[in-house]
């Protein structure tokens, strides 16, 4: 084997190893990452009591209430499958924070089952569509009322009856 071919073999082998390492890291990050907990995991007791953790999920529609005298805000985090946790915070909520949108809050569960958040962050998706255009598109995609003539009705009734 020529020295250059040896070096090519070395480089290819190294690239293969690096690729395998990369794939393994990616796979590990998908499955074993505890960046945040979903409400379901918290309710099942997967989070040790008293630890600070991040709670992720949607802000339930109509659940956001603000105290009239203090900065305190309360809202319910849901996974839309019936698992819900009430969050209490006296921090400023971010600009993008909205009901029915994703949020990530960091804090601790108290004895009454409330999540006391010391930080509330808003999450957003990677869809960069203008607000107006999406409404137009939605209208275009709703099915128009079907034109009905005699033959159609005949077919329909024929099939249904």
């Amino acid at each position: 084997m020529k020295p250059r071919n040896k070096r090519i073999a070395f480089v290819l082998l190294a690239l293969l190893t690096v690729g395998a390492a990369s794939a393994l890291i990616s796979k590990a990050m998908d499955g074993n990452l505890n960046y945040l907990y979903a409400p379901e995991q918290v309710l099942k007791g997967e989070v040790p009591a008293g630890t600070v953790f991040r709670l992720g999920g949607l802000v339930k529609k109509g659940s956001l209430t603000r105290s009239e005298t203090a900065l305190e805000a309360r809202f319910i985090v849901t996974d839309n499958r019936g698992n819900e946790i009430t969050v209490v915070t006296n921090k400023i909520l971010p600009d993008l924070f909205q009901e029915e949108k994703s949020q990530v809050s960091r804090g601790v569960m108290n004895d009454e089952g409330l999540f006391i958040a010391e930080e509330v962050l808003a999450k957003h998706d990677s869809e960069y569509m203008p607000a107006e255009l999406k409404d137009v598109l939605a209208k275009e995609h709703t099915p128009a009322p079907a034109k009905v003539d005699g033959s159609e009705i005949g077919k329909m009734t024929g099939q249904k009856l």
Partner: protein, 247 residues
């Protein structure tokens, strides 16, 4: 006709070639970035469906620098590997020159990301998987640069840093794929997924133009730096001492 592919692997020829093409890359960079920013500022919607207001326009700098920071890392590894295999001096110099621009764009990406994060998420920084892996990319760039300058013998420093760059390559796909789950409400992350599916066409145009502009900027600065490295490393040769700009 036999083409001599290695003509421009000779530093003396490449030095002259780079000097001729650098102005074109600068012009292309300025034009593309100007078009991209103009389009981004004046032809795009003022507010987005996901609730973001004008501040989302930092995307035109953020995305371009993120992509180029990752792309330049791949190019740096490419040149380092060519150096390892063919023992060409110039490819190591290319890798070395690429590392500085790459590190710089990584800083730009992190900074613009922090500003965007503060306005949209509500925080400058969070230990989200994507953010954390990108910070590690900066550390690897810095590690490469440090290793390169820590060893005086350039032949040794080139080889050692090339191996480091190669090992760090494992990180690039991880950054890209860090938690790209299909359902965003179930994602174990704060950063949105890397998806180009639903982007308004004018926003897309701005992103493409600024990204290409950053690419041209990278070519220009990398070639300028390579010319400096050539002069530095070959300062004792005959041809360098005869150059007009040296005397």
């Amino acid at each position: 006709m036999k083409i001599n592919w290695f003509k421009y692997a000779a530093t003396i020829n490449f030095y002259a070639l780079a000097g001729r093409v650098i102005p074109f890359f600068w012009v292309a960079a300025v034009i593309l970035i100007t078009i991209g920013l103009y389009w981004g500022f004046f032809k795009t919607p003022d507010s987005l469906d996901n609730g973001m207001k004008e501040y989302y326009r930092i995307i035109f700098v953020h995305l371009g620098s993120v992509w180029m920071a990752m792309w330049l890392y791949i190019m740096m590894v490419f040149w380092a590997l060519v150096g390892l295999v063919f023992n060409t001096k110039l490819s190591y110099m290319m890798a070395s020159a690429t590392s500085i621009t790459g590190a710089l764009l990584t800083v730009v990406a992190l900074a613009t990301g922090a500003i965007w994060g503060k306005t949209s998420w509500g925080t400058w920084w969070d230990w989200d998987p994507k953010l954390t892996t990108f910070l590690i990319l900066l550390f690897i760039y810095i590690g490469y640069i440090a290793l390169q300058s820590a060893i005086d013998d350039t032949r040794r420093s080139d080889k050692a840093s090339a191996v480091l760059a190669l090992v760090g390559l494992a990180l690039v796909p991880v950054i890209y794929s860090a938690v790209n789950c299909p359902d965003p409400t179930q994602c174990s992350s704060l950063h949105q997924e890397s998806s180009m599916k639903n982007i308004e066409p004018n926003i897309m145009k701005g992103i493409i133009f600024t990204t290409l502009g950053f690419w041209m900027y990278s070519f220009a600065t990398i070639l300028m730096r390579v010319r400096n490295i050539i002069l530095q490393r070959e300062r004792n040769t005959n041809w360098v001492s005869k150059l007009k700009e040296v005397n």
